[in-house]
């Protein structure tokens, strides 16, 4: 059951302030009282000026940042009341949730030394118990689609260009179908052709019933995805 009205992720009353102890305890409030619900089959674009906290919110939804207040309720399972608060979940539960339910495409690929591109992409599938050969086949298909030539697959992506690294990162994020996807500027360093391929990938995931939250600076991308805007205003609450 993946109807459009099925809420998948529900942020409630999130607040985040950074306290910089190494700089005299300076406090940097980012946002407070943020609430956001994203449904299956929906794309939500976080919107707002630079410094409004879009990235921080996205990372908080992924539990990469820990909110000072509020909850990040994530649907995990089939029953109506199968929700987990990611913000307070124990580490193991949070990791399992990320593996199965909540995907994240960061802005930059965090390179793992020596691991070939094909395995970097296949890894999320393998982590879910997929057989290595099958996982590599899926990874290869996705890399092909993203125009990463096969000769690059055995290489570690450390030496790739920014655009290539970003596409590897996107492939890694999409290789395992997950019901919720968080995307941090997935098209920022791509040319138009590759941008459109990524947009198509996102649209397909959406059509398949995934709930997506992203930061898309390119208005054309937001339009193409028919994204609902969620606007953050600098240093404050948002609508």
């Amino acid at each position: 059951m993946t109807g459009p009205e099925r809420a998948m992720i529900r942020a409630e009353g999130l607040a985040k302030t950074f306290v910089l102890h190494t700089q005299g305890g300076a406090e940097i409030p980012v946002f407070r009282n943020v609430s956001l619900t994203v449904h299956a089959g929906e794309v939500v674009a976080l919107h707002g000026p630079s410094g409004a906290g879009k990235s921080t919110l996205l990372r908080t939804l992924y539990a990469n940042y820990r909110p000072d207040a509020g909850r990040v309720m994530v649907r995990h399972g089939e029953a109506e009341d199968d929700w987990v608060d990611l913000a307070s979940a124990p580490p193991r539960a949070a990791l399992a949730l990320r593996r199965r339910t909540l995907g994240h495409v960061s802005q930059f690929l965090r390179v793992i030394p020596r691991v070939p591109t094909l395995d970097v992409v296949a890894e999320p599938l393998v982590a879910l118990g997929e057989e290595v050969g099958a996982a590599r086949a899926r990874a290869g298909a996705l890399l092909s689609r993203l125009n990463i030539p096969e000769r690059l697959w055995p290489l570690a992506p450390a030496t790739f260009s920014g655009g290539e690294q970003q596409r590897v990162n996107v492939a890694r994020g999409f290789v395992a179908p997950r019901p919720i996807l968080l995307l941090d500027e997935p098209t920022a360093s791509l040319d138009l052709a590759n941008r459109d391929i990524v947009v198509a990938l996102i649209a397909e995931a959406c059509a398949a019933g995934a709930a997506l939250v992203g930061i898309f600076h390119d208005p054309a991308v937001r339009e193409a995805l028919d994204a609902r805007l969620f606007t953050l205003t600098a240093r404050d609450t948002c609508s």
Partner: protein, 267 residues
């Protein structure tokens, strides 16, 4: 998997550490350490030299007797939880060469430098009763390959190996008996950066593939990020911060963790 199943562990933890403390004279080396470790989970322990990391590791693995607290280990097959420090030494040693492994920072502490690589890898199986030379040797050769050492080095002594090879050999010697839990003390410590990367990649792959639980002590945050699922940050013998690895490193809360993270040079 339902949310309820996610939040309640199917199996009890492999290791339950409660209130662990150890002092040398008046100076506490570690104090009031408590955590659970589950099968397949990698816990990183980070902090500067002298923060009590290695003392903690030695208390966990039974090498040092703590002044306070308990370490409970649950063996496979639903056996009774064992109070590691209440076990007779023979049982503890047996545990150390069956279910557990310890990887020393200096491979010379974990290897027999006077016998061949094959004999080093074969020692644990032989201590556990393996008596077929051919199979012991075949297993040793297999493990040598898995740690990326040329098979023609099987009969060479580790004295002729480079630092990186010695460390990989130490891994093979520990992993050959299929431990469930491995303790590692600065496993990449004395190695050149280029050699470190290879070892890290190997470690990461083996830990994932074998589903090992591990406690890895390191002062290198990059190592911690690559290997550990979650981190404990230690300062002056106490845990000051504990959480998912990426949370602790990307959103450190404690002043000491912030200092550690901000002190890392970006290449």
């Amino acid at each position: 998997m339902s949310a309820a199943a996610l939040m309640t562990e199917a199996d009890p933890p492999l290791l339950t550490v409660a209130g662990l403390g150890k002092a040398f004279g008046a100076r506490p080396a570690c104090a009031d350490i408590s955590f659970d470790l589950y099968a397949g989970e990698v816990l990183g322990v980070v902090g500067e030299s002298g923060s009590g990391k290695t003392t903690l590791l030695r208390c966990l693995s039974g090498g040092l007797t703590p002044d306070a607290g308990t370490v409970l280990y649950r063996p496979a097959e639903g056996g009774q939880a064992l109070d590691v420090h209440a076990l007779p030494e023979g049982r503890r040693r047996l545990l150390m060469r069956t279910d557990w492994g310890y990887v020393h920072q200096d491979p010379r502490d974990g290897l027999r430098m006077g016998v061949s690589a094959g004999a080093n890898i074969g020692e644990r199986p032989m201590a556990l009763g393996a008596r077929h030379y051919g199979r012991i040797r075949a297993d040793a050769a297999d493990w040598l390959a898995r740690v990326e050492i040329e098979s023609d080095r099987l009969d060479d002594r580790p004295t002729t190996f480079s630092g990186g090879m010695r460390q990989r050999l130490q891994l093979a010697r520990v992993l050959v008996s299929g431990p469930r839990l491995v303790f590692m003390d600065e496993p990449t410590g004395g190695l050149d950066v280029s050699v470190q990367a290879r070892l890290l990649d190997l470690l990461r792959d083996l830990v994932t593939r074998l589903g090992l639980a591990a406690v890895i002590v390191t002062h290198d945050l990059a190592v911690a990020r690559l290997l550990a699922h979650r981190l404990m940050v230690m300062k002056d013998g106490r845990v000051v911060e504990h959480g998912l690895t990426d949370q602790v490193l990307d959103d450190p809360h404690h002043p000491y963790t912030q200092l550690l993270v901000s002190s890392v040079l970006q290449a």
